[in-house]
Subunit: 429 residues, 2 copies
Amino acid sequence: MSESFIQSPAAEMIELLEELAAFSAPGEGVTRLLYTPAWKQAQQFLLNRAEAGGLKAYSDSAGNVYGRLDGTGSDGKVVLTGSHIDTVVRGGKYDGAYGVAAAFTALRYLSRVYGPPLRTLEAVSFAEEEGSRFPLTFWGSGNVTGLYDGSEAENCRDAEGMTLREAMTGSSLAGDKSPAPRDDIAAYVELHIEQGIVLERTGTQIGVVSAIAGQRRFAVSVKGTANHAGTTPMGLRHDALAAAAEMIVQLEHSAAEAGEPLVATTGRLEVYPNTPNVIPGEVMFTLDIRHSDGNELEAFCAAAVSAFEEIAKRRGVTVNITARLSASPAPMDRGLSGELESICTRQGRTYRTMVSGAGHDAQLFAPLTRTAMIFVPSRAGISHSPEEYTPPEELAAGLDVLIALLYKLGYEDLNDNGLTPHNTKERWT
Amino acid sequence: MSESFIQSPAAEMIELLEELAAFSAPGEGVTRLLYTPAWKQAQQFLLNRAEAGGLKAYSDSAGNVYGRLDGTGSDGKVVLTGSHIDTVVRGGKYDGAYGVAAAFTALRYLSRVYGPPLRTLEAVSFAEEEGSRFPLTFWGSGNVTGLYDGSEAENCRDAEGMTLREAMTGSSLAGDKSPAPRDDIAAYVELHIEQGIVLERTGTQIGVVSAIAGQRRFAVSVKGTANHAGTTPMGLRHDALAAAAEMIVQLEHSAAEAGEPLVATTGRLEVYPNTPNVIPGEVMFTLDIRHSDGNELEAFCAAAVSAFEEIAKRRGVTVNITARLSASPAPMDRGLSGELESICTRQGRTYRTMVSGAGHDAQLFAPLTRTAMIFVPSRAGISHSPEEYTPPEELAAGLDVLIALLYKLGYEDLNDNGLTPHNTKERWT
């Protein structure tokens, strides 16, 4: 990389994004799964690029990669920024990799323009977030925040039967023990594509995330009576699909009444016996319900369960609702969100405060430290697909906002930048 | 079989039913598919039993088997009674076989008790009705009534790739040319299990069928937009499953409003991509709509299509509705239905007039000749299953009613029994 200042940080970042996209298993889009060769090459590439860029490059035993700019100040705390390097199968170039490329580029830029910071800054490429190889998610940030202690790796197997432990040991980058959780993070900032259609639909450049929505997922089983479609009068039926259909319409109506940011979805549905001339005897369907407020989320789910039970009773079918996943909402730091809004205003960028409906590494940091997320638009909301896309000027806008926030957190007087010791209880009231 | 009169016709029929049930491919229930060894054995068994019972036994080139009692009268017409000998895969003992066993038993009984009839009576075991081996139905009665001319057999293949023609030729019972349609049938009477729950639910012994319902079947394709379940606000969705659910609820409501005998069913539904955290982009579902009145059926279907299009438009999804099957209603002969009601009254049996929601061989005879169907209860409405069952006393009641009607049609003065030359146009007004 040349020493010239002609290349803007945006151009450097976009070049880095393209280089990362090349580290992929063969096939459409980008496939870069935890501890695979493409993954190792990408992380090794980042280590080398960080080193060459003047950052202190290192990795931990889970395979997370860091580029560190030591601060001249003395509180020993770190401002961390980045995202995850892994992808889904046949994913896009931007999901995770954008935040990684932006983080490493931002630090290199700040270092070259302003010299060493007062507070230590670190760019991170988390090893894994998507759960696309092994049946767990956030393996990278989860090890850093103490969600995992390493014992999970023993019995967790991929589709070929290899354990996470074996794959971890086999990777020259990772070790065979999990790293200790970090307690030196003063703030975590993550830049990410929206993976939704709101920014594009409203013509807005930047999303300032107020919270990552909590999630509840359920499996619903409706059991009626299968019977002959021709010979069973309507009034004598216990049609499991008609019952499920009424529940789905009811859920949609309730979600509309609850208003944003409540979202409720039935994504998967199976009918038994699924034959044109047989009244369905059994239906299974899923619920995916999200809200940024834990109480509202809980209340909505309880009301939905009640409503489904009433429908089932009226129709003479049985309904069983099993909870499958429960993730609490993760509020972002108000001080940092406020600072982001100020930055957008100063930079003349349109922005909106919004809830992140998708989960991110940031949700693991939110209970532990001051956390912020910045969104850029996703074309047509497409993600987890080779069609994933954000125009270069929007990618550049996100980088500019990130750089400004990192400057605030890393280079301004420690007493003035609001990063006083973090009190978790205060932030939750 | 002994010459003794000690065995009632009911006991003889039930024994015959058990003997027929033994002719099956291995496995649960009864599997007796067209032109398979089990099928050939059953038809050959019937030929032998008919001969031994004093009937003139013969088969046609499609493999239909007959037992004939020549009448002493001179109009050359035949009163035909029977049903189909084939089954679905893993079916029950009664569907079709009951009508066959009853027909052959009734003729043997009438012959022994009353001697030769005035009008020729024939019991028939139709070769095929279910469509469970080859992709067509009513191969037996369809050849007799002229629905098929034999050309269909050339290109029609089973799951193993064998053509109907090859299978027909390979069966020692059938020939290689289709038989000519018959024009000598003065009346057709079919005794059958209800395959529904109405008789059992209302505690009624006999169903006098007023008509076989017409059927319309459709494939409905709804296309919306697949999107992230977490990041897409409710108001910006084009959820194909929510749209389909509303259509299904609407169809059920309309069917209830229309009242009996209208039945409307969505039996099969498929969601794409069918993933819990993705808003469904596409749904395919089937419609099976039946009514005994052709105009009502048509009007209901047209209204349903209209309603679906309105729902789709309102939701910003597209809907495509393709007709898959269309069968006209088949009214039964009023004179014969009236006679059946009188017989039930005389025999002290509870009965109700009802529409047959399922298709039967009788529907092919209805446009051509005076046709009647008699139902007996099905336990829990179960059919097409090893669990299919009707208690012996109900089977016996059906046989008694059939015997009484055959006596009326075969042994009473030809001028008094109402079987004047058949005028199709009259019967339809």
